[in-house]
């Protein structure tokens, strides 16, 4: 299988995602420039973290109009996999491939640290190697990770099991103390209704090797690989 890692001006986790997919997982990976349009041959597109277009106006607001995004929307319509990490998640929200929007963190600061996540839905192509209820250790690094959606939208997410990851404490308890940024319902990652587009604020590529503090994140990449086989 082949991963495609999109590079926007200002992306800065593209090389980390590439490393995780190619050097750690051992699969084929290629970079895709934001001005390209051809996604043939790719099985999963990764929109990496960073500050595309400096996060100017709003994070992801300008990147969503890049030429590649049209192709990615088509790609997603066909049922192929799209993984949006951090800024990538923000771009997926702006382009409407996922519902909701991001606000600044409640404490108004950038937060970079390891947090705990509870796997709420392990039936997705991105999380089937985890068990439901499993507690993962993964880092966050963002200024705008405060996920917002209208009450109706939230109900739809809950009813359709679209909430994949929630912030929790080491024991798996999902409460406001474990919520680092104020995200509604402690939501850290969601999937679209069809189940082929996944967006999450934490960084799985940064927790894909023990030496970095945790390898829990690698299973997201591995889940995609195994699902496709």
């Amino acid at each position: 299988m082949k991963f495609g890692v999109v590079i926007f001006p200002g992306s800065n986790c593209d090389q980390d995602c590439f490393w995780a997919a190619k050097d750690v997982l051992g699969e084929k990976a290629e970079y895709i420039w934001h001005n390209d349009i051809d996604l043939r041959g790719f099985d999963c597109i990764i929109l990496p973290g960073g500050f595309s277009y400096g996060d100017y106006l709003r994070p992801g607001a300008i990147a969503r109009f890049s030429r590649i995004m049209k192709s990615i929307v088509e790609f997603a319509k066909k049922g192929s996999f799209v993984l949006g990490i951090c800024n990538g998640f923000q771009i997926l929200l702006e382009v409407g491939l996922l519902p909701g929007a991001m606000l600044p963190n409640k404490n108004l600061h950038f937060i970079c640290r390891y947090i705990y996540l509870k796997v709420e839905n392990s039936q997705t192509p991105f999380t089937h190697l985890y068990k439901t209820g499993q507690v993962l250790s993964m880092p966050i690094a963002h200024h705008e990770g405060n996920f917002y959606i209208t009450p109706d939208g939230l109900k739809r997410l809950q009813d359709n099991h679209q909430i994949v990851l929630r912030y929790c404490n080491a024991a798996g308890l999902v409460d406001s103390n474990a919520n680092p940024n104020g995200a509604v319902d402690n939501i850290a990652g969601i999937i679209n209704e069809r189940g082929n587009v996944f967006g999450l604020m934490p960084h799985p590529e940064r927790s894909s090797e023990e030496i970095l503090g945790s390898d829990d994140g690698l299973l997201i990449f591995d889940s995609i690989r195994k699902w496709l086989k």
Binding site: P9, G10, F51, Y53, F110, A141
Partner: protein, 754 residues
């Protein structure tokens, strides 16, 4: 001093511009040039300078760019050491196998005092550019900061602003701010210090130099458009003390980290083509500095026409264009015929790239404005300001401040309280409030995270190696004893590297001092420098790059002499890294080194007794070198669970940090044996040098003792790690870890948000 007359000297090199003649003495003084320097300029040009030429001299010959007062002494710094070094024009580094590790530290003190967010942000921008213009991809940033005490609102404002600036720039540009240090001392009120260090990695055969080569090659300007930012920043701002009038805000530049990120990618791509003969960042003194220094370093000349310079403001005069310090700009020397290929790369990343001139062989810096010559200066003369021999004199305070009659010092009634008080002192407290605002994980190389080890460790992907980085300086020690304080800064940096398992390799320094025109301040500078030289020589460490920042003073006084040492070390096997945290219960806790009864200059003395005095701890470089070798051996042989050096706050603080640094896995300790019969406060809180606390499984005691004996290091088994979550030190300390953690982890939040 002879008055400058309107006498016209024979014109050399056909500069004909009547409208730019200097008409009064006041002009050059307004630009920060002394009468003496102006006379030198007249001698060089053999005529009166044009306004553009005067502006160019004023910035290139400012203290900040020209190092007039310090160059003589900087020559003493060793350029060779145990690792093969590379010393370039703007940065330097070491060779590790096939890689070059390039690093440098720089200051941005005055701009940060005036506008903390942008001052710190542009400081980061500048140091990053020095690294990637050498062809190295930046892989880490470190910040070494100093502020006045946090009870003053303006100091809190500065701290928040500077941290905001560093996170604003560093996070967006995608380089992890992986570590650093922050000190709080009254002496820094009115003059904060913002020193930033950047480390980058390159293929050792693909390093770029900051010089022009090849007659006819193109001079390309790349990056942001030029505006009026920072005009006179380095000459007016950095080369003068802060007076009562603080209306210097207009000279602070604004940073654009998004553009810088694009610049990094475009530059590294351009360099990879092989068409770039030389490259330099436009930092302090902007276009003047970059063109003239590149010409002079290459033994060539440059001929540029300002009409090609992209600008973002209207009606910019030639002298403004030459002085502007607009950020995110660079100069490239590109092989003739390859200009379009390079322009295409920059354009892909949305950046300007314009040919503004050519390399010549007449060794002149020729600046035109739409064809009309407005400046014509010999490159070498422009980049060789005079080297002064500054007078120095031991300050009056020295004899008094070194006095400390330890016998008259009372001991705390409650050592538990004393320990908690020191742990909550802003200099000692855990700084997670700061480092969690920095993305310290991007690039997935950070294998020792801030707060868990004595140094930052970054793996080198594609190899089995890693590098460790640290910054250190205790300004208070340097105030009391500049020579010894500076030696200690070097020794401590090396010790911090050793504690994570790294062999100290080379140094970059950022020397922060007061006004060098005052003999008492210069005495501090000279002595600190000599201390650095002696320690580096002893430990075989080359100083590959650095920076000097003078004039850090205001009417209240000067900062503590603060020669910040940035040091890089090499770890041969990334799997053999040690952190400071106790790992398992029921392991041995051992002290390597000895405890001497000395409290001078200590954090304990300041926090508990409110005194700053007494001789600083003695440093025995021979013992220090042996200790470092011994600990490296122990780590190499896999004998240690943890290693942590003793510094501010002494043994008790170090032990507390070993217990609580890992929030989710705190391990208690019981110390039932201390190595000396000295005053209890000196035992617990004294800052004797060359001491490292290690922990290890009991079965490793024998080989550890053997190594200690081989290197003649005093060893004392202090006690064991325990299941019980308490820190106990004989009958003096008995505290639950939760209480220690709460003080150590949460106090900074409370201090900052008063």
């Amino acid at each position: 001093m002879a008055e400058v007359t309107a006498e016209v000297y024979p014109v050399r090199n056909s500069v004909k511009d009547d409208s730019e003649r200097i008409i009064s003495n006041g002009v050059y003084r307004g630009l920060g040039l002394t009468d003496e320097l102006y006379q030198r300029i007249l001698k060089i040009l053999k005529r009166q300078p044009t306004l553009t030429e005067l502006a160019m001299f004023s910035v290139e010959w400012s203290e900040h760019c020209g190092y007039l007062c310090s160059r003589k002494w900087l020559k003493l710094l060793p350029k060779k050491g145990k690792f093969k070094t590379l010393i370039g024009e703007d940065s330097g580094g070491i060779i590790v196998d096939d890689l070059a590790v390039i690093f440098k530290m720089e200051s941005h003190n005055h701009p940060s005092q005036v506008e903390p967010k942008q001052g710190a942000a542009t400081g980061i921008g500048g140091i990053i550019r020095d690294i990637f213009t050498a062809g190295a991809r930046p892989i880490a940033l470190m910040d070494s900061l100093r502020f006045g005490e946090l009870d003053k609102p303006y100091n809190r404002y500065l701290l928040k602003g500077v941290v905001d600036g560093i996170q604003f720039y560093g996070n967006c540009v995608g380089i992890p701010t992986a570590g650093g240090e922050i000190y709080f001392e009254d002496a820094y009120t009115g003059n904060c210090l913002v020193n930033v260090m950047c480390v980058g990695v390159a293929d050792k055969n693909k390093i770029m130099r900051a010089r022009v080569k090849g007659k006819g090659n193109a001079i390309i300007y790349a990056g942001a458009s030029t505006g009026r930012d920072g005009i006179g920043g380095c000459s007016v701002l950095a080369s003068a003390e802060f007076g009562k009038d603080e209306e210097k805000r207009p000279t602070v530049q604004i940073g654009d980290p998004f553009m810088e990120k694009c610049l990094i990618e475009a530059t590294l791509e351009a360099i990879a083509t092989g068409y770039v003969a030389g490259i330099k960042d436009m930092g302090a003194a902007g276009l003047t500095c970059s063109t003239s220094e590149m010409a002079s370093s290459g033994g060539m000349g440059v001929d540029i026409d300002l009409k090609y310079v992209p600008r973002r403001e209207e009606n910019m005069q030639p002298w403004e264009l030459m002085m502007s310090e607009s950020q995110e700009r660079m100069v490239l020397c590109v092989k003739k015929g390859k200009e379009k290929a390079i322009e295409k790369i920059f354009s892909k990343w949305g950046l300007n790239a314009k040919v503004i001139g050519r390399v010549t062989d007449d060794k002149m810096v020729r600046v035109k404005d739409s064809g009309k010559t407005v400046a014509c200066i010999p490159a070498e003369a422009l980049t060789s300001p005079p080297m002064y021999d500054m007078p120095y004199k031991e300050p009056g305070y020295i004899k008094e401040i070194r006095k400390l009659n330890i016998k008259t010092l009372g001991q705390p009634g409650d050592y538990n309280k004393a320990l908690l008080k020191i742990l909550s002192s802003p200099t000692v407290i855990n700084k997670h409030w700061v480092y969690e605002q920095y993305d310290h994980m991007v690039q997935t190389n950070t294998v020792v995270l801030p707060g868990s080890g004595d140094s930052v460790v970054l793996r080198l992907k594609g190899t089995s190696k890693a590098i460790a980085v640290t910054t250190d300086c205790n300004g208070r020690y340097c105030y009391i004893e500049p020579y010894h304080g500076a030696q200690i800064a070097v020794a401590e940096a090396a010790r911090n590297l050793v504690c994570v398992g790294a062999e100290p390799a080379a140094v970059t320094d950022c020397l922060n001092f007061g006004n060098p025109q005052k003999p008492e301040r210069f005495w501090q500078f000279k002595n600190c420098l000599e201390g650095i030289v002696s320690a580096c020589r002893f430990l075989h460490l080359a100083v590959v790059s650095g920076n000097v920042s003078f004039y850090n003073e205001n009417p209240r006084g000067a900062i503590y002499p603060t020669p910040t040492i940035g040091m890089v070390g090499v770890i041969d096997d990334v799997k053999k890294i040690t952190t400071q945290v106790f790992k398992k219960e029921d392991e041995l806790i051992i002290l390597l080194g000895k405890c001497i009864e000395e409290l001078g200059g200590s954090e304990y003395l300041k926090v508990i007794h409110k005194k700053i005095c007494g001789r600083v701890p003695r440093l025995n470089l021979d013992l220090e070198a042996r200790l470092q070798k011994a600990v490296l051996r122990m780590i190499e042989e896999g004998l240690l669970s943890s290693a942590h050096d003793c510094s501010e706050g002494g043994l008790a603080v170090a032990l507390a940090e070993c217990c609580v640094s890992q929030k989710d896995a705190m391990i208690g300790a019981e110390i039932d044996n201390l190595p000396a019969k000295i005053r209890v406060d000196a035992l617990l809180f004294g800052e004797t040098q060359s001491r490292i606390i290690i922990s290890a499984a009991t079965r490793y005691l024998k080989p550890i003792k053997q190594i200690a004996r081989a290197y003649r290091i005093p060893l004392c088994v202090l006690g064991r790690t325990t299941k019980e979550k308490r820190l106990k030190i004989l009958s003096y300390i008995d505290l639950p870890l939760d209480k220690i953690f709460d003080t150590w982890w949460n106090s900074f939040d409370r201090e900052v948000n008063r």
